[in-house]
Symmetry: C2
Subunit: 263 residues, 2 copies
Amino acid sequence: MTASTTNSAYECRQQIRHGTITGPTAGLAPGYVQANLMILPKPLADEFLLFAQRNPKPCPLLAVTEPGQYEVPAMGKSIDLRTDVPRYRVWQDGALTDEPQSLTDVWRDDLVSFLIGCSFSFEEALVAAGLEVRHINQGVNVPMYRTNIDTMPTSRLSGPLVVSMRPFKASDAIRAIQITSRFPSVHGAPVHIGDPAQIGINDIHQPDYGDSVAIKDDEIPVFWACGVTPQSVIATVKPEFSITHAPGHMLITDVLNTTLATL
Amino acid sequence: MTASTTNSAYECRQQIRHGTITGPTAGLAPGYVQANLMILPKPLADEFLLFAQRNPKPCPLLAVTEPGQYEVPAMGKSIDLRTDVPRYRVWQDGALTDEPQSLTDVWRDDLVSFLIGCSFSFEEALVAAGLEVRHINQGVNVPMYRTNIDTMPTSRLSGPLVVSMRPFKASDAIRAIQITSRFPSVHGAPVHIGDPAQIGINDIHQPDYGDSVAIKDDEIPVFWACGVTPQSVIATVKPEFSITHAPGHMLITDVLNTTLATL
């Protein structure tokens, strides 16, 4: 994974920083990695780093900052994590307290930022391979489900794996497994295919997050580990202070999606 | 990566634990992952975890324990990190003080163990693909070199990347790049091919560690990030206490090498 500077991604970040772009980032700066953001005070950050090491499929780390650091040169030119995401969520004692467009008023020197890979990167590769990604074609959010699969815990952090689902014909499902296996830093290969009940999903048409999508008779549901997992795990410990991106409002980086492929 | 129990790997560990096997582990339990071991007191371990996140090619983490934990069920049945490596190196204030066959006398409740991927895993895949791995055929250690490539530092941990080198004909070099790209958890794709001077190696026949190997006129040297890197980086901070495996005396796990492949 190497960073390359591009006007497109850089200019998107500038427009976000100055409030010209305020909405979701899907479709912006095509070809460039968009990252989930998780910001935690240092002591909890140490433990979350271990949780991510043990759970790389739901928590694929692209970068981790030093405490207080808000620039991430390896991920993009002049990135400022306090201003370059269109909308943030600020949490106090586990409760959502604000959804600001900037963190300059709440930034602290003990905050460690985690940039976490996102399925946008592999979905681009799926579309480039000619596969139909259902929720994109339907113009809705990807359906996500809590499963009965446990994450590998640390002393305080634990909870069920959350997955996203995309339905495919068998031949496309095979191709989707091949393609996403090449992208371990953005969730990688699926964790399950076929019968939703085997991973504790009782009704595939009632996702726990996102929207339901149509599944045709000749299609197989394919399930990937999802970046909502770390958010739900962190929520269980109700940290005194934490920050995430608002859903769909990601950090746009200068890293090309294609550079994430292992082969 | 999943663990499967095998008599072969398990029995090797038992023989090591009971002193029946005391030498290097190369060639033992073919097919199973062998891991480098790095054991650090908790505060430095937190920082080393961050260093490994930032430098996954030289420091591919297979598992990280809780402080004091010496069992690693995910990596193998009844593993005891205090007894299941044939020979350890104990370091105090940066100096090698002992090379014991067991850690039971020196174990501490604040010690965090890192199991780090090793090139044995990808070398097996190279040999299985019909490639000649020179140092194996010559019966010597792989040649290793300090480079002028910097690792990505943390506040206290920094230093040059150390690489290992294997020479191949062009077509085999291409195949070796493909094959090792599939194994990101054991150093992954090469970091350099061709001219050694470009990465600060002045004399390819004078490795900094290991042994020199023959390079034929039609062969290209291929360089991979090496697990000696974290050892040399940790050595620079002279930790008050740390433990590593003795060179070549690895931890044999129950994880199949093939399960590490991304595709």
